[in-house]
């Protein structure tokens, strides 16, 4: 069974694309959701407190994501430390998930993640799909979706690679610019991957 990566910058609509694949019966592993669950697991919380201080776990024994983000996004070394803790766990989790979905009638499974090329995860997959959209449209979508300012969206975008850089590394591209039809693009890739 092929393992396919699905990624795209913030606001490109990769979740929507992932849902279309799901409708077509393709199992989709939502890496960001899994990472959040891993972050809240008891052994990880203990390690987080050891690595970044007790302030990253609040009085309700929940990870204070804002406090953690403030620490790691201002210090690249600390961000690498966090990634080195979480990424292997996500990778293990994905392998286990793939095992569970071995008997699906599809010839491939999808791994959806916001940062795929940046984390080096793309090397684990047989092919990678990149969802793209004009940057202005991405910003507009995120502002509407999360109710945040343009400046806040820009801050989030800073941690991502440019779409052009990712495009050079991707095997397939899905354009979600509200002009091109998305479903025909998904169906075309689906047909190729299911051969």
């Amino acid at each position: 069974m092929k393992r396919i990566g699905l990624t795209g910058n913030i606001g490109t609509g990769k979740s929507t694309v992932a849902r279309i694949f799901e409708i077509l019966g393709v199992p989709v592993y939502h890496a960001d959701k899994q990472a959040r669950e891993i972050l809240e697991s008891e052994p990880v919380k203990i390690q987080l407190a050891d690595l970044f201080g007790k302030q990253v776990v609040n009085s309700l024994n929940q990870v204070d994501r804002k406090a953690l983000a403030a620490i790691v996004f201002n210090d690249k070394n600390k961000l690498d430390v966090l990634n080195s803790l979480i990424h292997p766990l996500v990778e293990v989790g994905f392998s286990q998930w793939c095992d569970q979905h071995q008997h699906t009638d599809q010839k491939y499974v999808l791994h959806e993640a916001a940062i795929l090329f940046e984390s080096g995860f793309d090397r684990l997959f047989d092919a990678n799909i990149l969802v793209t959209a004009p940057e202005a449209l991405c910003v507009k979508r995120v502002m509407a979706r999360d109710g945040i300012t343009k400046e806040m969206v820009s801050e989030r975008v800073q941690n991502q690679w440019s779409q052009d850089k990712k495009l050079a590394m991707a095997d397939y591209q899905i354009i979600n610019d509200e002009i091109s039809m998305v479903i025909p693009q998904v169906l075309a890739i689906h047909q190729v991957l299911n051969k």
């Binding site: 929507t16 279309i20 409708i23 077509l24 979508r141 509407a144 039809m181 998305v182 479903i183």
Partner: protein, 334 residues
């Protein structure tokens, strides 16, 4: 030296002033005499008898209730008078300004094949004018000597009123309820040929600019060139504009599929809407107050996308944009 020159300065204007005073009384006396003589002459002249023809605009009142005056021949009557100058002057200017009215209540109206006709002979015109002109004894003739009238039966019809509006709003303000007006229908009485062609009545053009508060205003109904043949149950309508300060807001609204859409999945299944909301209701509005859907029918297969329609919009909210306005769809075979 200084005192001498002052005396000299004071005396010079006095000398010239004395000369002017001497000539003024003579001129005034002359002018007064002239005016008195003109007035005397005028008085003597106006005491004499004159013959003159005076034209009066006439209007007609008290037409029978079930009939409408369609033709009255003349709207100007010439009255020949032989009277003193004073009387002629009064008749010519005082009455002419007001115009004269002719009461139609005593007319003997006869039905004919073409409608209803009646006439008023000069003797009766003089009677009627006599109450309005004080000098009826001096009337020597009236032209035309007989007034002919043609009446038609009145037909009544209820017609809708159409507003003729031209308004602009101050940038931060919007009309938060539909523009209402009362009455929305009027009863129109007229002859059959007009009633048959009448489908609505327009108001006079109402122009309002830079509105920034609610307004209630009366606007007259437009009768146009057939005004004399039209009678309305009311002459005006009351228009209400509810204007409020508004703000722009955006919401994410889920889209459902109606019609034969059990196996239809849409992408995206949520739309962003941008609306203008009055500040008074803004805190109470949430995304759940809106409802959006696409309709899928077998005929929709011809379309690549389905149009999103908002089926529930809170009162007073104006939707400016739905994004995307159309969504893609896929049919899942089961």
């Amino acid at each position: 030296m200084a005192i001498d020159s002052q005396i000299e300065l004071n005396t010079k204007p006095n000398e010239t002033g004395r000369k002017e005073h001497r000539s003024h009384p003579r001129l005034i006396v002359f002018l007064v005499c002239l005016v008195i003589s003109i007035l005397m002459w005028l008085f003597i002249e106006l005491m004499k008898d004159y013959t003159d023809e005076i034209k009066y605009n006439v209007s007609f009142i008290n037409a029978p209730r079930d009939l409408i005056l369609t033709h009255s021949g003349d709207s100007v009557i010439s009255v020949g008078m032989n009277a003193q100058g004073f009387e002629l002057l009064a008749a010519k200017y005082a009455h002419k300004l007001r115009g004269l009215t002719i009461d139609l209540s005593t007319l003997k109206i006869r039905p004919t094949a073409d409608g209803y006709i009646a006439y008023l002979p000069s003797s009766r015109i003089v009677d009627q004018l006599g109450t309005q002109i004080r000098f009826e004894k001096q009337i020597t003739y009236i032209k035309p000597d007989t007034l002919f009238f043609r009446f038609s039966k009145i037909f009544v019809k209820q017609v809708p009123v159409k507003l003729d509006l031209d308004y602009s709003l101050n940038g931060q303000y919007d009309i938060t309820d539909s523009i209402t007006y009362r009455p929305q229908f009027v009863s129109v009485s007229s002859i059959k040929s007009i009633i048959d062609t009448l489908s609505f009545i327009k108001t006079q053009k109402l122009q309002l600019s830079q509105l920034d508060s609610s307004v209630t205003i009366k606007v007259a109904l437009k009768k146009g060139y057939r005004a004399s043949l039209l009678k309305f149950s009311t002459d005006s309508v009351t228009v209400k504009f509810k204007v409020e300060k508004v703000t722009e807001a955006g919401y994410t609204v889920p889209v459902s599929v109606s019609g034969n859409g059990e196996n239809v999945k849409i992408f995206p299944d949520k739309v962003e809407i941008v609306c203008r909301i009055p500040l008074s209701v803004y805190p109470h509005i949430t995304a759940s107050d809106f409802s959006a859907e696409v309709e899928f029918q077998p005929a929709s297969l011809k379309e690549k996308k389905l149009k999103v329609t908002l089926i529930k919009i809170p009162k007073k909210v104006r939707v400016l944009k739905i994004s995307p306005a159309e969504v893609e769809y896929i049919i899942i075979s089961k």
